[in-house]
Symmetry: C2
Subunit: 141 residues, 2 copies
DNA sequence: CTTTAAATCGGATTTGTTCTGATTTGTTAC
DNA sequence: GTAACAAATCAGAACAAATCCGATTTAAAG
């Protein structure tokens, strides 16, 4: 997803434009990486030093609801990245547990592995591979 | 896994036997379901009304380390169930997001979907299907 | 420009979890 | 069985992530 697309989605849903929202989206767009709310706060402080964490959290959940951000959870805290499944076709990620960097995996296990018991009404699924990326492996030596 | 097995594992690793530990394991063994720390506390209070949450949390993490419990995360809190992948062969679960009930899925996407980029040093993976079980669907009507 | 609802602020609050220091309990050696 | 020691537990303080709240500011529509 591109920054402009994300802003368009906000507009379409009747949300107001604010520089803070745009900047948050820009920050997420700048890295193929899951960021924590704290990471985003840190980066946005350069431009908006007084931004409150309430604003960051509230906007993040708006973005997640609208499908602008994708969410996961690492070490007990929420992590976010600009949605990319929406772009082409649905896929999953390899995630570096050190730095949050991601790499796409082709395909989805739901297509390959049938046989979900029929008495479950399926609402979603998660497939994530965890590991350490090249850079983080190097750094830990 | 059976309660006796779990106690055996504790013993082998030099952990002491306590009634509280056994009861915690029994509680988890009694249900094919992910329980929160709070769920476990609630159930154990019948027998050990003064048990502190510190003890519950500490024992849970010991159990997870030893592979007695499996861990996941639902709605921002840790959930636990008696390990069953260890029993037969490795597999994954469909999980009811209402009540934590689980159902096994045969196989593992890691076997089916090769192609993890080689510059990632893989340490783990998660495949979970979420939904609402028959009972919880019925209840919400 | 005025109006109004949405967004933001700043700080208090809540929730899940971990830490700390004092006390109790299982286990081992006698 | 008893003594001694390390591990386990207790109670509550502390912590971190996330949410809530009332007051203020701001984007956008008329």
């Amino acid at each position: 997803m591109k920054v402009e697309e994300a802003l368009q989605i906000l507009k379409e849903h009747g949300y107001k434009y604010t520089g803070k929202r745009e900047e948050m989206i820009r920050i997420c767009a700048a890295e193929k990486r899951y960021l924590s709310a704290k990471d985003i706060m840190e980066r946005i402080k350069e431009q908006y030093p007084t931004l409150s964490f309430d604003t960051v959290y509230r906007n993040i959940s708006t973005f997640v609801e609208l499908g602008i951000l994708e969410e996961t959870e690492l070490e007990g805290e929420g992590r976010f990245r600009l949605a990319c499944s929406a772009d082409g076709h649905h896929h999953h990620h390899v995630i570096c547990t050190e730095c949050g960097k991601t790499s796409s995996l082709p395909g989805c296990p739901m297509n390959v592995m049938a046989s979900v018991p029929e008495d479950f009404q399926v609402t979603g699924h998660k497939f994530e591979v965890y590991g350490t990326c090249k850079e983080c492996v190097a750094q830990s030596n």
